[in-house]
């Protein structure tokens, strides 16, 4: 009896905190991403700079609709809108508006592909772009992505993406630059699979 109690005492905590295998976590996130038709949220972007003692905080809204519609809009303290709709991208700031054909611009093609794949969690299984590790931290799954391609390596040393365990959606993305600075984007008031008006993706 005593031995049994000792066995329970030693092995029960280990069982309670048993880690979900990384492959399983990535697969679960990918499945949830594939089922997500639309996503709408607010975001807070914080830029930490080692050279400056104060952060730069920006606020905005994001809309996503499968498979290739995205609106990333900064509302404060500056206005800037990025809309991806099919193979076209609109960039709009207070001074000018540009519409770019993604198929004719390799850099934008890469940027839009990466943004979309990060939102739906596809980037975790993208072995060409990143070396991915993922950890179970209780309420969150934390994925660390090390860029493999030269273009990405020149910008970031790593990306850390946090997923909510309950709905498997991205909650925070932290991008570490080669300079030592980093940018953290926190998604708030997330609404999944709610109808998003087509007009938000309109390129005009």
């Amino acid at each position: 009896m005593k031995r049994l109690l000792l066995f329970i005492l030693f092995f029960l905590p280990a069982a309670a905190f048993a880690q979900i295998p990384a492959e399983k976590m990535i697969q679960t996130i990918s499945q949830a991403g594939a089922q997500m038709q639309t996503l709408e949220c607010d975001f807070v972007q914080v830029k930490h700079m080692s050279m400056l003692s104060e952060d730069m905080v920006s606020y905005g809204k994001m809309y996503y609709s499968q498979p290739d519609k995205l609106r990333w809009e900064y509302t404060r303290p500056y206005e800037y809108t990025f809309i991806l709709s099919g193979n076209q991208v609109l960039l709009n700031n207070s001074n000018r508006t540009d519409v770019i054909d993604v198929d004719k611009n390799k850099m934008f093609k890469e940027i839009t592909r990466l943004m979309s794949s990060c939102i739906v969690g596809k980037c975790l299984s993208d072995e060409k772009d990143f070396k991915t590790t993922i950890q179970d931290e209780g309420k969150e799954w934390v994925a660390t992505l090390i860029p493999l391609k030269r273009d990405l390596r020149q910008m970031w040393t790593r990306l850390v993406i946090r997923f909510d365990v309950q709905n498997k959606a991205v909650t925070t993305v932290k991008m570490y630059e080669t300079s030592g600075d980093c940018t953290e984007i926190e998604l708030k008031n997330i609404r999944q699979n709610h109808p998003v008006k087509d007009s938000v993706f309109k390129l005009d």
Binding site: V44, Q45, K47, M49, M51, L52, S53, E54, M56, V57, S58, Y59, Y74, R76, P77, Y78, Y80, F82, N93, S94, N95, R96, Q154, M155, M175, E177, S179, D181, T183, I185
Partner: protein, 139 residues
């Protein structure tokens, strides 16, 4: 012994006061657009002025750093600290140093930074820099 302790305390307090001053200087934020012939770069420019030593960072809207530099008001000198890989093109660093020095000179000349839209043009290289003050509030 007590005298030594007070001398030590005095130096500690002095150094901590100096440290806090370095962190407290004025910080200005601008919406910036740099037109380079047919292309352009837009984002935010942050300028921290601590006793005549200005630390300036230009980042795009998504937060990716484009250029970080220091301007010494007394020496009228720009030192580029960090430049985005895409901007590491022969001649660009020297061109930026030249233009940024002129812009920072104007910034220091205007007491309290640029209060309205400031435009600097380099006609030789068809470059135009536009700085618009940002009203900055954190929730």
């Amino acid at each position: 012994m007590i005298r030594k302790f007070f001398i030590f305390l005095f130096f500690v307090l002095c150094s901590s006061l100096n440290f806090s001053a370095q962190g407290e200087g004025r910080m200005d934020r601008y919406k910036v657009q740099i037109d380079i012939q047919d292309a352009y770069l837009s984002g935010v420019c942050m300028i921290k002025d601590v006793e005549g030593l200005l630390t300036v960072a230009v980042v795009n809207e998504f937060g990716v750093s484009a250029v970080t530099f220091r301007y010494n008001k007394t020496k009228d000198k720009v030192k580029i600290l960090n430049l985005a890989a895409a901007m590491k093109i022969p001649g660009v660093k020297a061109l930026l140093k030249h233009d940024l020095r002129n812009i920072m000179r104007e910034y220091c000349h205007a007491e309290g930074g640029f209060k309205t839209v400031y435009i600097y043009e380099n006609p030789k290289y068809r470059m135009k820099y536009n700085f618009t003050p940002i009203v900055y509030e954190i929730d």
